[in-house]
Symmetry: C2
Subunit: 261 residues, 2 copies
């Protein structure tokens, strides 16, 4: 069944395809409003299914500077997936300190030529460390990199990162991998309304209606990861999330006058 | 923009199109998992946009036996919309008493040959009257009609209506036109899990993520109405709802192991 869904998604041209990119940095155009993590899969066919069914156009790669995780070899992936069609960005999501994040970026830059960084500096309990993230962002920006930082919902921190020159800000909806959805929409909405750069909502988006709701709040995009990896069928859940993002975006554009609970 | 969305939806073949009908009664096949009310529009182009963008395959018609409402003429609609492509059902949603509901059905049957009834018997404050609905359902079923009753979420009442022979049961998520979404998922989920007939969730589904959530609970379909009628662009919101329903259905099928808040 998931294969049919995939074929079908390719055949159709969802409305989001005609939208302008939500983010343009240098030569990169981010069109798909869904970003997917792929580091939790041990199977290349699954990664392929998730990338294709989600409609993602960004490929997120990483290294673990402390050598604690295994990952699939890019060369093996490249045999199955047209990686050149994707915008490559690097992530520091394994980093639990500013130093580890900086070392990750250095390796990604040197070995893969990566210059767009999905910046995560997390505490040992896997939550964004806003202060450390701002500090690392400043250094990376000074080095000429494009930075997409992940923080707890804090208006002042979000504005500071935008002022520093971050291309987009990623805001946590609820703890990573919790599946709790949007814990409180108000700070997210406040950040979105005041932000001069695109806002991505991520963390805890466990199922389709969480992603729709994030987009209804005015997010430019969402990032999903564990919801797909833990689904019995990651490909179906990826297709679900793709529809959910389109649904939420269209609902946002249709500006309903009803209250959105 | 909404026109592009419509064209596009026609061009693509969303995954739900290949699913088996969720409801088959006699010669009728209900495939689309979204039902839309159209009695709130004063413009035929808007009705056309909503029907097409939603992907609905059911056309809901009614009369007001007490002559309190105006409505567009079917003959005018038929000039613009291929009404013969739709499954026609009648609704008693204007009825505020058992007697009014029965008279509505009689008129619909006599004048339009309608034999599938979206049965609503509501109290003066526009909430389903479960007891009266059960009483009218019994009479209509005895007359050989197909009945799709709308009730407050009550497991015993839902089971009673299924035992009587109703083809599907429609359960209220939150008050009609409130936009409050799913007030409490537990009774809905309980009814769905115990039901031997398809369960439709409706009432208060104000935006896309409400519809996704209803489908994630295992609903066979949703009915939306005011959310579209009150949107600045009903066509865009109809497209949003269509994607939302597909998203929720796919998420349900992918059976996520994460909790769904």
């Amino acid at each position: 069944m998931s294969v049919q869904v995939l074929d079908n998604h390719r055949a159709g041209q969802p409305p989001e395809a005609r939208e302008e990119p939500w983010l343009t940095v240098g030569k990169y155009r981010f069109r798909s409003r869904i970003l997917v993590g792929i580091e939790q899969y041990q199977s290349i066919p699954l990664i392929k299914q998730v990338l294709q069914a989600s409609g993602a156009d960004v490929f997120i790669t990483t290294v673990d500077p402390d050598g604690m995780r295994s990952s699939l070899l890019l060369s093996d992936l490249a045999e199955e997936i047209p990686l050149e069609a994707y915008t490559w960005i690097g992530t520091t999501s394994f980093a639990r300190s500013a130093d580890s994040a900086l070392r990750t970026v250095e390796i990604l830059r040197r070995t893969c030529g990566i210059d767009v960084i999905k910046l995560d500096v997390r505490t040992p309990d896997n939550r964004p460390d806003n202060a450390q993230t701002i500090m690392v962002a400043e250094k990376l920006l000074a080095d000429g990199l494009t930075v997409l930082p992940f923080i707890l919902p804090d208006l002042a921190d979000a504005q500071r990162l935008a002022e520093l020159g971050c291309a987009a800000i990623r805001i946590m909806a609820s703890p990573v991998a919790s599946g709790r959805g949007i814990a409180d929409p108000r700070p997210l909405q406040e950040i979105i309304e005041h932000s001069r750069v695109p806002v991505v909502i991520e963390g805890g988006l466990g199922t389709a209606h969480h992603a729709s709701r994030a987009m209804e709040l005015g997010a430019a995009a969402v990032l999903v990861n564990t919801a797909l990896a833990r689904a019995a069928s990651p490909g179906l859940m990826a297709a679900a999330m793709r529809h959910a993002v389109t649904a939420g975006r269209l609902a946002y554009q249709s500006r309903p006058e009803l209250c959105v609970a």
